[in-house]
Structures are given as structure tokens and as C-alpha cells.
């Protein structure tokens, strides 16, 4: 059984309102932080594999709680790379940090989300794979086998396909058909006592250089003009006419 590293990012809960003030998303206005949804599936897939599972996150102090949540369902080791402002890092800097953390964990198999719920990027899994010189399969919704030969189900332009990959590898998960496990009381108690290895980027001994992308401004999405609302199915024909004549979409 190969050791697995799971990359987990803490993001605003998908139900949380995103407020912007002074050209930046106001993190202090986020009422709930959660594990990014696809990362939950990555963690679940690792738990199914079993063995040693290092949960790794890179982020500010608040992210530590998410590692404890991961321990409560069964992650065996916890690693927190403390970075206060992730939005100042570009895609290669974050991949460099996480690849170094994976190396430190000793894992040759990495599970992560297909994209984080804040960046929506999907750069990190393949980026870490490149730095590890490893194979990568993304958008995976089903996984069988083990590190000597995983079989991963992913979409293709003609449907779906099963792809074979073995360690070293990175697998980036989509939503899966499986239920996510919930922690039980014993798990929660044990997790509270679990040590978190807390490191800085320089502790990892990597040089991340300077960012080549800079953030200028964040803003709320453009307001849509208020729509027209009609009571009753007898207005369907009117709407269809408007779709043709006003909106010109049919």
C-alpha cells in the first residue's frame, strides 16, 4: 500500500455570501469556511485506499481546523504550510509549495480536487504532477485498483474512459457517486489530540521566486437588470415571442 498525500483547501462554504470591499473579497465577512467540495471526494477516495494518509493544506491559520476535520474521518498525518495570503501566489508558486510538502510527506500518490471552489482553476493537480515528474488524471469520478495500477474513470470527448496510471501519480477528483463519510464521536475526540506539523515555506527549503501574476481588483459580478415575471401558464406564448423578438435567442 503506497502512502497517499491528499491536498485539501479551505474555502468559503458554498452557501456563504461573498462580499467585496475596497476591491478585495472580504474574508472577514465569510460566515463559514469548509473543505473545498471536490477535495472531500479526494479525501474519501484516500480513505477507501487506506494506509498512511497525509492531509496537506497551504493557507492561513484558520485552515488548521480543516485538517482536524480530515483527521476526524481518518487522515493519519496532518501538515499545514502557513501562508497568510494565498491570493498573492501564482499557479506555479502554489504548485511548488505543495509538491515540496508532498515530497516531505514521503507519499508517491497524490489525491486532490479537480478545482478549488474559490479559484475554480484546476491548475494545481497537474502542476504538482509536472513538478513530481508524475502521471496525472483529472476529472476522476470513480477509482479502482491501487498504486501499482489505478483505474480511473474520466470524461472524454466521446463519453467516458477508463485510464490506467500507477505511482508516482496525481489524481484530481470530480464529484463521485459514493457517499462521503461523516466523523463519529470517537474520531472527533482522537482528531483533537492529533498533532499538526506546522511549517513555513522556508522550512520546506524551496525557492518560490516572485509572482508573475498580480491581483489588481476583485469585484462583485455585474448586476443583471431585473427580469420580467408572469403569473400563469397562459403567458408562456408571450415569453416565447419575447425570446424571439426581444432576446433573439430562438
Amino acid at each position: 500500500m503506497a502512502d497517499i498525500a491528499v491536498l485539501l483547501k479551505q474555502v468559503p462554504d458554498t452557501n456563504a455570501k461573498i462580499m467585496v470591499s475596497g476591491g478585495r473579497v472580504d474574508e472577514s465577512a465569510v460566515n463559514k469556511w469548509s473543505m473545498s467540495p471536490f477535495d472531500e471526494y479526494a479525501l474519501e477516495a484516500a480513505l477507501v485506499q487506506g494506509g498512511s494518509i497525509t492531509a496537506i493544506t497551504c493557507g492561513p491559520a484558520r485552515a488548521k481546523k480543516m485538517l482536524t476535520d480530515a483527521a476526524a474521518v481518518g487522515a493519519t498525518d496532518l501538515m499545514h504550510i502557513v501562508v497568510d495570503d494565498l491570493s498573492a501566489l501564482d499557479s506555479n508558486q502554489i504548485a511548488t509549495i505543495l509538491a515540496a510538502a508532498v515530497e516531505k510527506s514521503g507519499a508517491s500518490v497524490v489525491f486532490c480536487g479537480k478545482q478549488a471552489a474559490d479559484t475554480n482553476a484546476g491548475s494545481t493537480g497537474p502542476g504538482v504532477a509536472e513538478m513530481m515528474g508524475a502521471g496525472c488524471v483529472t476529472m476522476v469520478s470513480e477509482l479502482t485498483g491501487d498504486s501499482s495500477g489505478f483505474m480511473a474513470l474520466r470524461p472524454s470527448s466521446t463519453g467516458m474512459e477508463r485510464v490506467n496510471v500507477s505511482a508516482p501519480c496525481v489524481i484530481a477528483f470530480d464529484k463521485m457517486g459514493t457517499e462521503l463519510r461523516r466523523p463519529n464521536v470517537k474520531g472527533i475526540m482522537m482528531a483533537k489530540k492529533k498533532a499538526v506539523e506546522t511549517l513555513t515555506v522556508s522550512d520546506l527549503g524551496v525557492d518560490i521566486g516572485s509572482a508573475s501574476v498580480s491581483l489588481d481588483n476583485q469585484s462583485p459580478p455585474a448586476e443583471k437588470p431585473a427580469g420580467q415575471k408572469f403569473e400563469g401558464a397562459e403567458n408562456v406564448a408571450t415569453v416565447v415571442t419575447k425570446l424571439r423578438d426581444e432576446a433573439k435567442v430562438i
Binding site: 468559503p12 458554498t14 452557501n15 461573498i18 467540495p37 471536490f38 499557479s91 506555479n92 504548485a95 471552489a117 475554480n120 482553476a121 484546476g122 491548475s123 493537480g125 497537474p126 502542476g127 504532477a129 509536472e130 502521471g135 496525472c136 483529472t138 476529472m139 470524461p155 470527448s157 466521446t158 467516458m160 474512459e161 477508463r162 485510464v163 490506467n164 496510471v165 464529484k175 509572482a211 508573475s212 501574476v213 498580480s214 491581483l215 489588481d216 476583485q218 469585484s219 462583485p220 459580478p221 443583471k224 427580469g227 420580467q228 415575471k229 408572469f230 403569473e231 400563469g232 401558464a233 403567458n235 408562456v236 406564448a237 415569453v239 416565447v240 425570446l243 432576446a247 435567442v249 430562438i250
Partner: protein, 299 residues
């Protein structure tokens, strides 16, 4: 100097490629993985050069190998489509070349690019270097027309693959993909049962639309996840999105709020979906869908 990585679909060029060329603003070099779609790419206006990159690694998709082989000829600013494969190629090429990647860009103004974040709950504007790797959201940039006659050259370049495709599973239905369609009609729990989706399919056939679904329906009635729209499903960007019996939870809106026009059919006048609808119809689907079928056939 702008390099466009052609998006391919099966054995031909995906239409988003012309949008990438449009965004490049002329004088683009288009790289065709495995040589697929090279002749079609050469006929797009604004393409200066097409390079067919040919090698064994292109027989199946392997992001690392494709990025490595294409990366030997990709230079300057590199544009790819913000699709599953486009994103993976861009991410690996960026990591290999040490060039930062910005995914899912919706507008470009010189070195200033804009993209949605938090699933469309906010936007951000970034300054990128001249040489940067960007993936562009499909259906947001206007496509370059045809009438080009670029010269096509071939580069033989393969790379080591780390993955192998063992089984291809054909699509369960011949229906359009929600992510590609110009019109999408989606149903939610309000449809009552999976069988009632046949009413949506009939309208979809009239409109040439794809059929989508809310997560409630996918999880509870076992519909295919490939048609789920939203935070943990697909992001769609059609000209027209019709939501039927969908309440409009924030995670559903995350996947469809950028549609050009939104029609909502819901029996509850207070359903949040009406907050994003251009045209809202307060009615049951049992009444509204037959009326819709009639109105469409009378057009």
C-alpha cells in the same frame, strides 16, 4: 506572438478554437495536437501559421505528454480553451516552462485579464506578463471567421506517456453536452420523477437544446452526473437557459448564472431562481410545458 493550442473533439477541430483565434486578435500560430484539425484551423481568418505536432503520444489524452510535446513549439502568449483537456495541458505546460497560468479568462485587455472566482460570485482582474498561459472560457470571445489560408507545417515530436486508456465508454445518449449547447433546458426536483424528463427532452428536441439537471435529481433519481449543472457539476454558458422545477439554490446558480438569457418555470412565485431569470413564469410544469411546446411549434 500568440500561440493557440487547438481544442479537438474526436477527430476534428472543436469550434472553440476559432474563439481562441478571435481572442488572439490576428497573427496567431495554431498548434494541432496529433495533426487533428490542421486543415480546418488553416481556414480560420487571422491564423498566420498552423503547426501539426505529430507523435505517438497523441493517440490518447495524456496531459503531461501533450504539454511536453506541444511545449517544444509553443511560445509567446499561449491560449487554450478552458475545457478539461485545455486546462490540464495549460497547467502542466506552465509548470514545465515556469510560466504562470490563469484559467477560465473571460476578457483580455493587453496584459490585464478578468476571470470569475468563487463560482461566479465575484470577478477578479489580474495583470499577467507578456508571456503567460491563459485558458479562455468557451462562448465568451467572438469567433474569428473563415477565409484564412495559412500554411501548415508538421513537427514530429512525441513525449513519454504516464497514463493509458484501457476502455472507452460511449455516451449513454446522443444528446448534446450541456457545456457545449447554445440552449439548455434543465429540470429539478419539481419535475416529480425521472420519467417526467421525457417532457423536457421533447422540448429540447424542438429547440435543438441539451437537457440538464439539478443536483437533487442527479443524486436522488440517479440521473447521469454528466448533465448536472452547478457548483459540483458543469458550468454552462448558453444563450438561453430554461430552468424547470428548480428552486435556484446558490450552488445551482453557480453553474448557470452567466447564461445570456434565463427563463424560469416554477410554481412557487418566491423561488430564488426568479431572482436571476430574465423571464419568469409562475406555473406548474404540467401546465407550462405543453404551452411551451405549442408556442414553439407555432413560431
Amino acid at each position: 506572438m500568440v500561440t493557440v493550442i487547438a481544442e479537438i473533439s474526436g477527430n476534428s477541430l472543436h469550434p472553440v478554437t476559432a474563439q481562441l483565434v478571435g481572442a488572439a486578435g490576428g497573427n496567431a500560430t495554431v498548434l494541432c495536437p496529433g495533426g487533428i484539425g490542421a486543415a480546418e484551423a488553416a481556414a480560420i481568418a487571422g491564423v498566420a501559421k498552423v503547426i501539426s505536432v505529430e507523435g505517438d503520444c497523441f493517440s490518447d489524452f495524456d496531459g503531461g505528454a501533450w504539454a511536453s510535446a506541444l511545449g517544444t513549439v509553443a511560445e509567446g502568449r499561449i491560449l487554450a480553451a478552458s475545457t478539461a483537456t485545455g486546462r490540464e495541458i495549460a497547467a502542466r505546460m506552465g509548470a514545465a516552462k515556469g510560466v504562470a497560468v490563469v484559467q477560465d479568462v473571460t476578457s483580455i485587455d493587453g496584459n490585464s485579464v478578468t476571470r470569475p472566482i468563487y463560482s461566479g460570485k465575484a470577478m477578479e482582474t489580474l495583470t499577467v506578463a507578456d508571456d503567460s498561459i491563459l485558458t479562455l472560457r468557451p462562448n465568451t470571445f467572438s469567433a474569428a471567421g473563415d477565409g484564412g489560408s495559412a500554411e501548415v507545417s508538421t513537427v514530429n515530436q512525441s513525449a513519454d506517456v504516464a497514463t493509458s486508456v484501457k476502455e472507452a465508454i460511449a455516451k449513454a445518449s446522443e444528446r448534446l453536452d450541456v457545456a457545449d449547447a447554445d440552449v439548455v433546458i434543465s429540470g429539478g426536483r419539481g419535475m416529480g420523477s425521472i420519467e417526467n424528463f421525457s417532457h423536457l427532452e421533447a422540448i429540447a428536441d424542438q429547440l435543438g437544446a441539451a437537457v440538464g439537471a439539478s443536483r437533487a435529481v442527479v443524486d436522488e433519481w440517479g440521473m447521469s452526473h454528466s448533465i448536472q449543472v452547478g457548483q459540483t457539476g458543469k458550468t454552462v454558458n448558453p444563450s438561453l437557459y430554461i430552468a424547470v422545477g428548480i428552486s435556484g439554490a446558490i450552488q445551482h446558480l453557480a453553474g448557470m448564472r452567466s447564461s445570456k438569457y434565463i427563463v424560469a418555470i416554477n410554481k412557487d412565485a418566491d423561488a430564488p431562481i426568479f431572482g436571476v431569470a430574465d423571464y419568469g413564469i409562475v406555473a406548474t410544469w404540467e401546465e407550462a410545458l405543453p404551452a411551451l411546446a405549442d408556442a414553439l411549434s407555432n413560431l
